[in-house]
């Protein structure tokens, strides 16, 4: 009898030991899956530096940053990133001029004024719009918005940054509105009630209590929206033109960093040519631009989560 019990206990211990070992192995497997995220980031940084090192052997960093021409595909090749950066910034500028005011007003309306049912219907629609493929937005920019703009400005070229920027702006409105609305809803109710008790109207409360209270969340929404516009590829590749052009005039055609990468990828340059390697240098600049924005956005989001 006692012997049987001891045996059973031994068995249970053995099985517990087995289960604990299994747990440890599984934990290691799960951890390695988590490390894929770290590995991806490291790989992005490593690949961009490694592949563009070949490019920087032939082009000095000074020329890359200060030359005003970007013509790697021409016989007289020049490698100044500035024209691509100016194209990127111009398109982004147009996009945020649309997305920030419209997104903020829509967010204030949804968060503070809209009836509950409307808000609950509109929020999923906004999220749905975020899932529309960007190549579809590119089609809109080239074949719907540009012809429309040309009716107002007959001189507007078929490829231009204005139309691409407007469509990108429209595209990120749902994102900016949705994130801003979340931030404003996180402002506690008692702050609004305090304001009402002082005799403020809804609009005064919204603008002077809720918006300042949600400031870091709104700033995060804007910055992440800008980061999206900077990294947007298909709309500009389709509608803004493929020629690098050092200008801040949105009615001109110009290539952005992303559009240039697409252009080279579609061509048939050999892998070991400098022209081909230049996409990694361009990508490196793009990554650094969005990385700075994303880091700022990350800390702002964290601040607004912790604020209340």
């Amino acid at each position: 009898m006692t012997q049987g019990k001891t045996q059973m206990a031994q068995g249970a211990f053995a099985s517990l030991h087995y289960r604990k070992t299994r747990d440890r192995i599984i934990e290691a497997i799960l951890l390695s899956a988590g490390l894929v995220a770290v590995f991806t980031t490291v790989a992005i940084v490593f690949i961009l530096f490694y592949e563009s090192s070949y490019f920087f052997e032939h082009v000095s960093v000074k020329d890359f940053l200060t030359d005003t021409m970007w013509t790697p595909l021409f016989a007289d090749a020049r490698y100044g990133i500035l024209p691509l950066v100016s194209g990127t910034l111009t398109v982004t500028g147009v996009a945020i001029l649309v997305a920030i005011p419209v997104g903020t007003i829509v967010a204030i309306y949804l968060s503070e004024f809209a009836p509950h049912r409307l808000r609950e219907t509109v929020k999923p629609v906004l999220e749905l719009l975020g899932a529309v493929p960007t190549v579809v937005y590119g089609y809109f920019a080239l074949l719907a918005v540009t012809p429309l703009l040309q009716k107002v400005w007959p001189d507007l070229p078929g490829f231009n940054m204005l139309s691409a920027g407007l469509v990108i702006g429209l595209m990120i409105v749902p994102y900016v509105a949705s994130v801003s609305e979340d931030a404003m809803r996180a402002v506690p109710k008692y702050m609004r009630e305090g304001s009402y008790a002082m005799g403020a109207t809804k609009l005064q409360t919204a603008l002077r209590v809720v918006v300042p209270g949600a400031f870091s969340g709104l700033a995060a929404a804007y910055i992440l929206g800008i980061s999206r516009a900077v990294g947007e590829t298909m709309v500009v590749a389709i509608a803004a033109g493929m020629m690098a052009n050092l200008t801040f005039n949105p009615t001109e055609p110009a290539a952005t960093i992303t559009a240039y990468i697409v252009q080279v990828s579609l061509g048939d340059l050999p892998h070991d040519s400098i022209g081909y390697q230049s996409i990694f240098a361009a990508g490196l600049v793009l990554m650094l631009m969005t990385l700075v924005l994303n880091v700022i956005g990350f800390f702002l989001t964290r601040r607004f989560r912790e604020a209340y």
């Binding site: 934990e27 988590g34 490390l35 419209v102 809209a114 493929p133 190549v135 109207t201 389709i238």
Partner: protein, 310 residues
């Protein structure tokens, strides 16, 4: 302050009615912008479907791309997209769910976990074309996977990993602590608690996250162009299923491919109007697919939520 004290009742009333007018004005502007944006998008979508409507038909689905717009179809693109999605789902689901389980159920709160979390957040904000450059440098040149279905699937899997991880973590977090503690109380190990109790309750959320991720991946164009997808492919990858033992064939993983968004991009960039009708038709189908996937995701979330009551 003093000025307020000296305001007559009349003045206060005037100010109040003015402020109330402002409220109404703001509501009008807010509604106009909200519905204005939605209306513009609705018109654009409607236009897209109308422009492409002449091309909808059986032939469009069963034809390869062609130099003649009226003969061209999306067969190779649709098959390519489906095969890529299979690879993406098979990679992103296990890795994403495992990473989420680790972060939510296992990870100690320390700097190392913090690094993983920051990386996940950061990756969600990396432009998709950068993933394309990563894949070009890593999968195509270093690992020699070629410009293949496998490379495209892996690239998009990395791209949607943050979406799957975040969605899975949210649904794991929604499982009440009491359920875990009850299982621990009966002597279950951490993995047994996770596998037998936490995961079954979060299946809905995980599936929703996966489908939302795939609906993002299906429309991604830039990274697939960067790894060198061809836009003119008049053949299908070898069939995954064969008549002979072992009935499965993995040749298709190494095959060159094209995909729906690339086909659309190729057609949009042609000046010929007839091809733009093709682009519109492909775009409408692509849009239909993403919206359908989102609808399924929302439905699953709703159903699972209804079935579970704590």
């Amino acid at each position: 302050m003093a000025a307020t004290a000296h305001m007559t009742l009349e003045e206060i009333r005037k100010g109040l009615s003015w402020r109330k007018q402002l409220d109404k004005l703001f509501i009008a502007i807010g509604m106009a912008l909200l519905f204005g944006c939605l209306a513009i998008l609705a018109i654009l979508f409607f236009d897209l479907v109308r422009d492409g409507s002449s091309r909808f038909g059986w032939d469009f689905f069963t034809s390869f791309p062609s130099r003649k717009a009226e003969n061209a179809g999306i067969l190779s693109a649709a098959v390519g997209t489906m095969l890529i999605m299979v690879v993406t789902a098979l990679v992103a689901l296990p890795v994403g769910v495992a990473a989420a389980i680790y972060l939510e159920e296992y990870a100690p709160k320390n700097w190392f976990t913090g690094i993983i979390e920051i990386n996940v957040t950061n990756l969600a904000g990396v432009p998709s074309i950068i993933y394309g450059l990563l894949a070009l440098g890593l999968f195509v040149y270093q690992f020699n996977f070629g410009q293949s279905v496998l490379t495209a699937g892996l690239t998009l899997a990395l791209l949607i990993l943050p979406i799957v991880i975040v969605a899975t973590r949210e649904s794991l977090r929604a499982v009440p602590k009491a359920i875990r503690e009850a299982a621990y109380g009966l002597g279950a190990t951490r993995w047994e608690v996770t596998k037998d109790h936490v995961l079954p309750y979060s299946t809905g959320g995980i599936l929703t996250g996966l489908i939302l991720g795939l609906s993002r991946a299906i429309g991604e164009t830039a990274p697939i162009i960067t790894i060198g997808a061809l836009s003119f492919i008049a053949f299908l990858p070898p069939s995954p299923v064969t008549g002979e033992f072992p009935f499965l064939n993995f040749e298709w993983l190494r095959s060159e491919f094209t995909a729906m968004p690339i086909q659309m991009f190729n057609w949009v960039s042609r000046p010929d109007q007839a091809f733009q009708a093709n682009a519109a038709a492909a775009g409408a189908i692509l849009l239909g697919m993403t919206l359908a996937m989102n609808a399924v995701a929302i439905w699953i979330r709703y159903r699972f939520r209804k079935k579970i009551s704590w």
